[in-house]
Subunit: 151 residues, 4 copies
């Protein structure tokens, strides 16, 4: 029943759409997918009042969540179900209410079941807000039913 994808870019988009449709967490924060191509993804979030912490800036956990979601799209959009084994984030500047944060994820390495992805988070002035590094682990399965082994 499911569509057959020959183009890796179309497959990447379809994987991201399938993930996003099922991702209540990203919806809760209003995270949007700007771009998804094999091993890369760009996601966006606008900081609102409900995302601020006790210091009145965007809770670091939500900056992380945005970056982690971009990482998830970048490592799943080749249609191999992949989870995060660990992540690190460095906070460089705060996010204020109304700021539009963009997380850009890129694959640095993928070999066997494991991978490393870097994510930069910038604001609407192109200032670097945070740098994130995610370690991925591929488990069994496909996001979208396709013939043959996951590649």
């Amino acid at each position: 029943m499911s569509e057959l994808f020959n183009d890796p870019h179309q497959l990447a988009s379809a994987c991201s759409d399938a993930m996003h449709a099922n991702d209540d967490a990203s919806k809760l924060l209003g995270i949007e997918i700007i771009e998804s191509r094999p091993g890369h993804a760009r996601l966006q979030l606008t900081v609102s009042r409900k995302m601020t912490n006790g210091h009145d800036i965007c809770h670091g956990g939500f900056v992380f969540t945005l970056a982690d979601s971009a990482f998830a799209h970048a490592c799943n959009n080749t249609n191999r179900v992949t989870v995060a084994s660990g992540c690190s984030i460095e906070f460089l500047a705060p996010g204020a209410i109304g700021d539009v944060l963009t997380a850009t994820a890129s694959e640095r390495s993928r070999s066997g079941r494991t991978g490393v992805y870097d994510v930069d988070v910038t604001n609407q002035n192109n200032e670097l807000i945070a740098v994130f590094r995610g370690k991925s682990y591929q488990i069994k399965g496909q996001l979208i039913d396709q013939p043959g082994e996951p590649t």
Copy 2:
């Protein structure tokens, strides 16, 4: 006008209450403070549908947010305004809908303006879900107006 605290444990509780009152992010996720004493804090969250990701488990970003909040309480509850400079998290087991996650933060080191805090996240069966390490940086100011220098 503000109360004078001689007991560091009472001050820690008051700092955590002040942070929590202003923390919309933690309220969004229903994070509760279980314990706050100088350099330590224990916070709890119940995983709900809205926190799940495209793989139908608790979004790693929210496990991180819980841990990061526990870290924030542990490093701010001596009444010195302190922010996260960076954090790392290792995901050991998934969180399912209905799971009660507890984050326990402990100060490992604090010297000058910087500190290191470890946070363990466990579920209701006392299984380790994630380990988190936060690096803190003290900025100017007090959470609660007290006489003298921040100590």
Copy 3:
């Protein structure tokens, strides 16, 4: 031909001895094994002139090497060949020439092929010099030939 070990503590010691015998890197720095029991290890190094960096303190790389070696013993001494996939270290205080540094590694989690180990590095005054966290990945093979599957 190789000895059969029924006691996991004896096996841990034998694994550490086998690793150490073949570890030129640790010998170069004069690293000594103080203790090795299943999932735990304690190693020691005395800081000498040749280990100092341009700031005249022990090169962070050698503090890391000590911690990484303790991690390696802790994750290999159950006789399953295991390598580091990634590590992080926070430097808390410098090491001076003549300081005796002790790295104590403990297993925090091990499940499937992956594990997490924490290592504390202290000096002769029991001051915390660094905290280290290692992520391990089990590959094929045994350190010491034993009957049955690696356990």
Copy 4:
């Protein structure tokens, strides 16, 4: 007595030379400086027998040491004395005896007293061996006596 540098590139080279002259640790491993310009540095090491661990590959601690040294040059070569507060490394492929490893460090962020630097370690076939991220903390002082405040 000391030379006055008007060109930041000449100052970067002079800072690296001053650091290297005093760096016994890098000499122990035969680490060489290939390039040093403001906020960037490239260092090289050839893996020898003495650098191998119990698995007969280059000890991760020495891959780390190379990356950490490149990081140190990149964050000190603007003549502000700067130390590492923490580092993380992901190991992607092993280094064998005879491999020539190159660590390339780049400043990602520097603001106030803190900075973030990324280091890639590649081998002679341009394969990525490890990715490293260092967090720096500027302390008092200059590497080379120059008039005015450290800039």
